[in-house]
Every structure is written in structure tokens, then in C-alpha cells.
């Protein structure tokens, strides 16, 4: 095994088999479970499953067909008939029902009905009652037509060249590349943070001097970057694993999870923009580690990288509203803002091929340049104890 791999393996095992890393890894499924739990909780709070009564003078619900089936997380509400309003009011007073509808004799002519309640009726029971009424109004119609009327339509919005389409059932697909980009950025800063911290520590505890008389600075830096990218990818793969499990479990109950798919273009952007961005961030963090004299100083300097990377997140509204605006294209071509901008755009528009090629080329060149910069900062700064390496020294002609 070459020394580069020894360095990479050491870097990887030192951080991955560590409580802090495992906590970070498990925090994602924990947050997902928490969020899903919150959704169910909010829906449950919005749904009052107590029965709803009705007094039907029109005869529409004299011998009713049952209401359509309810999909989770909504709960089905029972509809109870009452012969007259006084009986319904008594049931309401006793808390047996949450409200009751009165359907007048001339309902078909006027379309007017009234509802009596102690507390405002929530959306869930209200819409369920309208569907119940609708299926009974349409009971003599062809069942297929009746179902089409009761269930809402799904409009598929398609681009002129047919390459992109979107429907109300697949809205979550817009978010997939965006979420992937955020996950990548979190992972790259986690891994890059480890790398910076490791380099600063090796300087602080003077291990550096022993190391560089054993390996070349290039082998050492390459090993560290490989190790830390492996840490980030481990994190991402574990998260993807958790997300897949979450989708497989959740799609049984949640309809919006059933249409999830990742487009080939999103995968292309992940490979050609997010992966080089990963290398670039790791190398820049290593360069920071090599230039500073203590970890706290390094953390402050990390902001110089992390702030521009998160700018597109703050501009999400603009990017979604005008995904091909000149400012958005400019953000797509700037190395630090390209990752998030391109992935947000991917969900919203057809990104022209030249922009994908240009952005990818810029990202790859930036990654290579960052490795060069890190190597140079490392060579010059590795034995600077207690004194920060100036950036102009890095760029000075050697």
C-alpha cells in the first residue's frame, strides 16, 4: 500500500470511527423522523375525527352511498343522519358530533346549505363532507365519470421540447436536486472541517515535522484529501441510505413520495459540479489549516468559503422565479456559488448545455487549482508555528 493510502486510511478511520461523526451521521435520520412526525402531528391537529351530522330535507342522502376512501395522514370522519334539527342540536350539545349540516329541500335549485357548529369546522371534515355530498349527487352517473368529477385532475405541465414535465403529484421532484445539493454542502464542510482541524492539530502538536520526514508533502496532502472525501461520501451514502429507507416506508402512506425520481441531468450535475466542489472545498480547508496557527483562527477563516457557497440559498426565491436571469447564470459560473445555484435551477428549468459544460469545466479547474494552492500553502506553512502564513507568500514566486 502506498504512503498516500496509509495517510488516507488513517485520516478516514480516525474520524469515521469517532462518536462525533456517528452522532452527525445519525442526526439526519433523526431529523427526518422528527419532521415526518411533525407533519403527522400537524395533520392530526388539523383533523377532528369526531362524527359530523346532517339533516337532509332534500332526499339526496336518504339512502347514501359511502364517502370516498380517505388517504393518510387524514382520518375518515363518520357522517350521521338526523331526522330533524333538534335531534342534531341535542347531539351537538352532548358532544356526540362536532357539527351538523342542514341540506334544505331546495338545495338542488339554490346550492345553499348551512352548517351549525360549536367550534369552526376544520378543513379535513369539511372537504370530506363535500365529497360525500358530491358522490351522492352523482350516484346515478357512470361511476367512472363520477370518480373523475370527485377526484381532482392532475395537470402535467410540459416543456415545448418534451424534455421536462411536472405535475402536482411530482412536486417533490423539484426539491430533490436542491436537497441533494444541501446534503453535499453539509457533507463537504463536515469533511473539510475535519481536514482543516487535522492539519492545524498536526501543526500544533508538532506531528508535522515527523510526518514530512516520512512522506512527501504531495503524498501527504493527497492522502488527506482522499481520506476526507471518503469521509464525506460515507456521510452522503449513509444519508442516501436513510432517505431511501424513509421513502420506501413513507410512500406506503404518503402519496407525494410515490412519484420521486432523480433526473439524469441532476445526476450529471452531481457528478460534474458537486464532486469537484467537494474536492475544492476540502483542498481550500486544508490550505486554511496550513496557513493558520490555531484551530479557532481557521474556523473564522472558513466563513470566507462557506458564506459565498450559501448565497444561492438566500437567493432561492430569485433563482426559482427567474432561473435563466443573467445574475443567476453568473452565479452558475462562479465556483463557490455554482453548486447550489445549478442544482436549484435544475429543478426549475432546462439549463442550456453550454452553461453545464462551462460550469463543470470551471468547477474542475477550480478543484485542481485548489489542490495546487493547498499543496503550496502546506509546503510553506507546515512548519510555521505561532505565525500565520500570509496569502501573498503563497502566491509569491518561489
Amino acid at each position: 500500500m502506498s504512503k498516500t493510502w496509509h495517510v488516507a486510511l488513517h485520516e478516514y478511520s480516525r474520524h469515521v470511527f469517532n462518536k462525533r461523526f456517528l452522532l452527525g451521521l445519525l442526526s439526519v435520520p433523526f431529523v427526518i423522523i422528527l419532521m415526518v412526525g411533525l407533519i403527522f402531528l400537524i395533520v392530526a391537529m388539523e383533523t377532528d375525527a369526531r362524527p359530523v351530522g346532517y339533516v337532509d330535507f332534500s332526499g339526496i342522502l336518504a339512502d347514501p352511498v359511502p364517502p370516498p376512501e380517505i388517504e393518510p395522514p387524514d382520518k375518515p370522519v363518520e357522517f350521521r343522519p338526523y331526522a330533524d334539527e333538534s335531534a342534531a342540536m341535542a347531539a351537538l350539545d352532548h358532544g356526540e358530533i362536532q357539527a351538523y349540516y342542514v341540506i334544505p329541500e331546495d338545495y338542488l335549485e339554490t346550492g345553499t346549505l348551512s352548517v351549525v357548529h360549536a367550534e369552526a369546522l376544520k378543513d379535513g371534515p369539511r372537504y370530506q363532507f363535500y365529497d360525500f355530498l358530491a358522490v351522492n349527487l352523482l350516484r346515478d352517473t357512470d361511476p367512472a365519470i363520477a370518480r373523475r368529477i370527485v377526484e381532482s385532475d392532475e395537470v402535467i405541465v410540459q416543456s415545448a421540447d418534451g424534455s421536462r414535465s411536472m405535475s402536482s403529484d411530482s412536486w417533490f421532484n423539484i426539491l430533490v436536486p436542491f436537497i441533494a445539493a444541501i446534503a453535499f454542502i453539509i457533507a463537504m464542510f463536515t469533511a473539510g472541517g475535519y481536514l482543516m482541524q487535522a492539519v492545524v492539530e498536526e501543526k500544533e502538536n508538532r506531528t508535522m515535522e515527523v510526518l514530512i520526514t516520512s512522506v512527501s508533502s504531495n503524498q501527504f496532502m493527497a492522502g488527506k484529501i482522499i481520506g476526507d472525501i471518503a469521509i464525506g461520501l460515507t456521510q452522503i451514502l449513509a444519508w442516501i441510505g436513510f432517505v431511501i429507507i424513509g421513502i420506501l416506508v413513507g410512500r406506503v402512506k404518503l402519496e407525494f413520495l410515490q412519484g420521486i425520481e432523480i433526473s439524469p441531468q441532476a445526476l450529471l450535475l452531481i457528478a460534474t459540479i458537486l464532486l469537484p466542489a467537494f474536492v475544492m472545498v476540502c483542498a481550500l480547508m486544508a490550505a486554511i489549516g496550513a496557513t493558520v496557527s490555531e484551530a479557532r483562527e481557521g474556523q473564522q477563516m472558513t466563513g470566507l468559503i462557506s458564506l459565498p457557497i450559501w448565497i444561492p440559498y438566500m437567493l432561492t426565491g430569485i433563482i426559482i422565479g427567474s432561473p435563466n436571469a443573467p445574475i443567476v447564470v453568473a452565479l452558475s459560473l462562479f465556483p463557490l456559488t455554482a453548486p447550489l445555484t445549478m442544482l436549484i435551477r435544475q429543478g426549475m428549468t432546462n439549463i442550456p448545455a453550454w452553461q453545464i459544460v462551462a460550469s463543470s469545466a470551471i468547477m474542475i479547474l477550480s478543484a485542481v487549482g485548489s489542490i495546487w494552492l493547498a499543496g503550496r500553502a502546506f509546503r510553506l506553512g507546515m512548519l510555521r508555528y505561532g505565525k500565520r502564513l500570509k496569502w501573498r507568500e503563497i502566491f509569491a514566486k518561489s
Partner: protein, 300 residues
């Protein structure tokens, strides 16, 4: 062919000339002392030797030529400021540092176990390095330096922080390595230990070589100003003596300029003094060091 050959190297950091035209060579199998006060340029010289720094001018040949990646596996370096990973167990730290010197996991395990036993650290191998005492960390650093059985060993202040028992253990270890043919460069401020262990030395001050050569030659070079005499009965009055200094039952006679030891001996014999001891007072390395650093004695 010398194991290390340094020819006229100069290294400057901004306005500071850390190393100024330094030259010396270290022969194969030699135990060589590299001495100098703090900030004299010793560490910079070592870093140039190890190719950590490129000298501004001059050349360095190590193990028969320029430094290469392959040669790094044959060199053991223990820097003055110790460097071990603090947050990992000692055995894992040694395994990693050994692997970077090209050792297989089985070799690392076998060799480190031997050294850990010898240095009384076997019971602590699963502890994190930061949990070890300063002396233990020092011994662990020595193990990491020796693990790959280097041909050239460069140890900077190896006795710092060690108690007398462990100092003796490290001295024995260095002698053992020396007997096995390992070339050793010893940097230390403990002159008595350098005197005890080294054959030749170089003394650097303000980046320049002040003394260079065999230890005995250097001591001779700095001797001649005094003789140590022990006689039965009191010494007679002698001419050409600047100062008389009693030392452990003997008398050190500091000679006036121009007076030779032989003339003193002749006078004593002529006066029929029964001598138990008469020798030219050889200065200790400590004394030479102080004299050179304080401005006495010339450049080599």
C-alpha cells in the same frame, strides 16, 4: 563516503541569516554531536539536512546523494518539539508512523511490542497518547524514531524530560545503535552526555560553525592554559602562575601567558616535589561551549 555531507549551506528567513556558510560531514557509523545555544541555527541545519528546507546556497548530500522519498525510510528523526497524535491510542499511533516508514503491520506490531516492553510502556499501549506522562511520551517518541531500524538517526534533545533511570536507558540505546553501525546525529544541551557519547562534534553559533572536529582534538585545542597538580605536601612558590585553584584534593595552576606546562614540571622536579599527579587541565565540553559562545575561541 560520508553519510551526511553539508557544504557551505546558507539559509535566510527574511532579514535573519539562520545558517551562514555551514559545512561539516558525518561519517558512516559515527556518533556525532551537533551543538549550539538556543537559536544558533541547529534545527534549521537539520531541516536543510532532511530536505524540509531548501538551502539558499550550498549543497547537502545524505546517504550518498540528494534526499529522495526512498531514503526517508532509512532515516529516523526525533525533533526537539515532540510530535505524536494525542487523541489516539499509543499502539495505533506507532502503527501509523511505522507504516509511513514502509513497515508492514506485522513488523510494526513485532518491533513496537519489543520496544514497549523495554521502555516499560507495554501496559500503557492502549491508552491515548495524551494520557501518558511527559516522560512516557518522550519514550514513545524514541520508539517511533527507531521502529523502522534507520541507518541514520537524528535525535534532537533525546534526554529532555527523562529521569536518571530513563536517561541511562536512552544512553544505552544510543550506544547499542552505534555499535550496530547506525550513524547518529545527537543534538543536546547536556554537554556531559555529548562528551560521554560523541566522537566528533560541530558547534554552531549565530548560524556559523564555531568548532568542528574530534572531541579530544577540540579539548586539546582549548587546553594549555592550566595544569592539574597533586603533590605530597604543599606546593612551592612557582613563577609564571596567574592563579591557583584547589580542585578535589588537587591544585589547578592557571599559567601566565608564555608559560609552558613543561617548564612547570621541570621546576617541580628540580625542587624535589613528590608528585602524585601532573596533567594538562583539559577543559570540559561545557567550559568550551561557554567560552566559544561568549566570544572566545575562533571559527572552525
Amino acid at each position: 563516503m560520508p553519510t551526511v555531507e553539508i557544504s557551505h549551506i546558507t539559509k535566510t528567513f527574511g532579514p535573519l541569516k539562520a545558517v551562514d556558510d555551514v559545512s561539516f560531514s558525518i561519517e558512516k557509523g559515527e556518533l556525532f554531536g551537533l551543538l549550539g545555544p538556543n537559536g544558533a541555527g541547529k534545527t534549521t541545519t537539520i531541516r536543510c539536512m532532511l530536505d524540509i528546507f531548501k538551502p539558499d546556497s550550498g549543497s547537502v548530500a545524505i546517504l550518498g546523494g540528494a534526499m529522495s522519498e526512498a531514503k526517508k525510510d532509512h532515516i529516523g528523526y526525533m525533533p526537539e518539539e515532540r510530535g505524536l497524535y494525542q487523541d489516539i491510542p499509543l499502539e495505533r499511533c506507532l502503527a501509523y508512523l511505522g507504516s509511513l516508514k514502509g513497515l508492514s503491520p506485522s513488523d510494526v506490531k513485532q518491533r513496537s511490542e519489543g520496544y514497549l516492553e523495554r521502555f516499560d510502556l507495554a501496559a500503557h499501549k492502549t491508552k491515548k497518547v495524551k494520557e501518558l506522562s511527559k516522560g512516557m511520551q518522550q519514550k514513545a517518541q524514541i520508539i517511533a524514531t527507531l521502529l523502522h531500524q534507520p541507518e541514520l538517526l537524528i535525535v534532537d534533545e533525546p534526554f529532555a524530560g527523562l529521569d536518571p533511570v530513563n536517561t541511562q536507558m536512552v544512553k544505552d540505546l544510543l550506544r547499542e545503535q552505534h555499535q550496530q553501525g547506525v550513524t547518529i546525529v545527537l543534538c543536546s544541551h547536556q554537554m556531559n552526555l555529548v562528551e560521554e557519547l560523541c566522537d566528533r562534534i560541530v558547534l554552531i553559533d549565530h548560524g556559523k560553525v564555531m568548532l568542528y572536529g574530534g572531541l579530544e582534538d577540540i579539548r586539546h585545542q582549548f587546553s594549555g592554559h592550566a595544569v592539574v597538580v597533586r603533590a605530597e605536601g604543599p606546593l612551592p612558590e612557582l613563577k609564571g602562575i596567574e592563579r591557583v585553584e584547589p580542585i578535589n584534593g588537587s591544585t589547578k595552576l592557571h599559567l601566565a601567558a608564555g608559560m609552558k606546562p613543561q617548564e612547570i614540571l621541570k621546576t617541580l622536579v628540580a625542587k624535589d616535589v613528590t608528585l602524585a599527579q601532573f596533567e594538562i587541565a583539559m577543559p570540559t565540553l561545557d567550559e568550551i561551549f561557554i567560552r566559544v559562545v561568549q566570544g572566545e575561541g575562533g571559527e572552525a
